[in-house]
């Protein structure tokens, strides 16, 4: 052991300021996570226990009743399936379409390119409330209210995804693409064989962010899913939580658990990609 290592080991304790920082951060992170803990605990309590005061922390008589109600009487399977179908289709569409147009914007010259890119950037700022009224009129005219196409089509190619893919593909060396072209590969072949295989990281980011956005999306599904068989999870939860079940907190907390848990598991498994994704879309 060198002297340097020994002094480092012998260092008595961390400075007080750092200790204080840890203490504050631990309290803050506990407060941040408390609502989730409270949700999980509450979902297993009976209505009687939820209303009783003083409050109880651990469920005295853990019950699955709240969850069973969702499965047996409120058709959560249907809402779950709807959310999955919509999210998966939206993700696949975005992965393909955003990378295609991203490639064109990054590596090809064509008239109207600048204009197209400016439009994409402007569209990033447009709030959902601005487009949903005419969108609903159009969907009604086409007879698509309460159908999968109405839930999926408007989100198949998001401007944010185009921006993300373009930024990444611009960083791929031109020489790689030129080499493929000289070898006689067409653009489609170059795209599929050279560009796409290099796009793993941004595609992962785009896939995760799109899935998240779709799973949690609310305003448009609320407007366009008007029959119960087409509700997505958030729509179903919001309508039950404001309807006749508004005070049945056991049921509502169990519903929240069912909506949040799949994303939470995904987040814990892929947290690195989630966080990289935010940093990437934010910084570039």
């Amino acid at each position: 052991m060198t002297t340097q290592e020994m002094t480092r080991k012998a260092k008595p304790r961390m400075p007080a300021s750092r200790l204080l920082t840890y203490a504050v951060l631990i309290v803050a992170v506990a407060a941040t996570l408390l609502p989730f803990v409270w949700m999980f605990l509450g979902a297993f309590k009976t209505q009687g226990e939820l209303l009783r005061r003083p409050i109880t922390w651990w469920p005295e008589q853990a019950t699955f009743e709240n969850f069973l109600l969702w499965f047996n009487e409120l058709h959560i399977g249907t809402f779950f399936l709807n959310s999955i179908v919509v999210a998966v289709s939206t993700v696949l569409g975005n992965l393909l379409f955003c990378s295609m147009v991203g490639y064109a914007l990054a590596k090809m010259d064509f008239p109207g390119k600048r204009f197209l890119f400016v439009l994409v950037m402007v569209m990033l700022m447009v709030p959902g409330v601005v487009t949903f009224v005419p969108l609903f009129v159009m969907v009604s005219k086409l007879g698509l209210v309460s159908t999968y196409p109405a839930l999926i089509l408007p989100f198949l190619a998001a401007p944010m995804g185009v921006f993300l893919m373009r930024q990444f593909i611009m960083g791929i060396p031109d020489s790689l693409i030129e080499a493929a072209r000289i070898d006689g590969a067409g653009e489609l072949r170059t795209f599929l064989r050279i560009v796409l295989p290099l796009c793993g990281p941004p595609l992962a980011t785009l896939g995760i962010l799109t899935f998240l956005g779709s799973w949690n999306n609310f305003l448009w599904p609320l407007v366009v899913a008007q029959t119960e068989d087409m509700y997505t999870l958030p729509v179903a939860l919001s309508l039950y939580s404001t309807g006749q079940n508004a005070t049945d907190y056991g049921l509502l907390l169990a519903g929240s658990v069912l909506v949040i848990t799949p994303i939470l598991l995904l987040f814990i498994a892929l947290q690195r990609y989630f966080i990289q994704g935010v940093a990437a879309t934010g910084i570039k």
Binding site: G42, M100, M125, M138, F218
Partner: protein, 296 residues
């Protein structure tokens, strides 16, 4: 080069083919509605006109005039302003403090803290709003905890005074993580050697933060606040699930007002309201870009 222009035309065609799926989705579902909504805001379009949209009457600026004469709309504007003016600085300051603490204040467990603070971001607003509604009951968890330190908490969601602070609390909680991550990435770009040089010259931690870190973080701060404002100006789910816009419209946002007018079938008025919001978002972004750039 022979055939140069023919080849260029062919290349352009190929490029547009690559862009085609996006351009179709974009034109039909985004650009088209954006333009239609603008046009609709100058008509008396109602739910009954869906069958024959071209038969609506042109009413000029009447919808906008009606909007700015509508007490409920004005109330929703001031509510939205309240939400943004308090919520944005609060979220930004807390996120910056967290980012600095994680970046400079500690050496271990960074990832665990980051994941913890980021968790609310990934969850559905509807689901967390349901949970928060439960926590904010008069005898709910928050008031129980406040009771431990001797504070008698209000009936948050049924008080015109406290309903908005409660929604802001939820919004800060849910958006803190996003900004924290963006700021952390920004802090990584502040060169360590400059900070060390300043420390050698006798600058204390606060001076280093104010004179070096903060100015270098300006572009990141700008980006973070713009992203946040675009989201905050549109808030809708929180009051929809937690308060229905009440009590007495004290949490009715512009988005919620627009949604309600749509529900009443007043599509022209809804479009006008949504355009006012759009302009506000564009203007605020512009102002923030200017404000944060001007000191360069």
């Amino acid at each position: 080069m022979r055939g140069g222009s023919a080849r260029r035309r062919r290349n352009a065609l190929v490029a547009w083919l690559f862009a085609l799926p996006f351009v179709l989705v974009f034109s039909v579902f985004m650009l088209g509605p954006l333009v239609s909504s603008f046009l609709m805001s100058f008509t008396d379009f109602t739910a009954r006109d869906i069958d024959d949209p071209l038969a609506v009457g042109f009413v000029g600026l009447d919808q906008y005039a009606a909007l700015f004469g509508n007490q409920q709309f004005l109330h929703s504007v001031s509510n939205t302003a309240y939400f943004v003016i308090v919520g944005i600085p609060l979220t930004t300051a807390l996120a910056l403090a967290l980012a600095v603490a994680l970046n400079n204040g500690i050496t271990r467990f960074r990832t665990a803290f980051r994941v913890g603070f980021y968790t609310p971001v990934v969850t559905s607003i509807v689901a967390v709003a349901v949970v928060w509604r439960f926590i904010l009951q008069p005898d709910g968890l928050l008031n129980v905890i406040l009771g431990w330190v001797g504070i008698a908490g209000p009936d948050w969601l049924n008080s015109t005074t406290w309903s908005m602070p409660a929604l802001i609390m939820l919004a800060v909680w849910r958006n803190l993580g996003t900004l924290m991550i963006i700021f952390l990435a920004g802090l990584q770009n502040v060169p360590a050697d400059i900070l060390e040089a300043a420390a050698v010259d006798g600058a204390n931690a606060w001076q280093r933060f104010m004179r070096i870190t903060l100015p270098m973080l300006r572009p990141t701060l700008l980006l973070g606040t713009v992203l946040l404002s675009v989201g905050f100006l549109q808030f809708f789910e929180e009051p929809f699930v937690m308060t229905k816009g009440g009590p007495l419209d004290s949490t009715l946002s512009v988005s919620y007002f627009t949604f309600n007018q749509f529900g009443f079938g007043k599509y022209g008025l809804a479009s006008a309201a949504s355009y006012v919001l759009f302009v506000a978002i564009a203007l605020l972004s512009l102002v923030q870009f200017r404000a944060l750039r001007s000191k360069d």
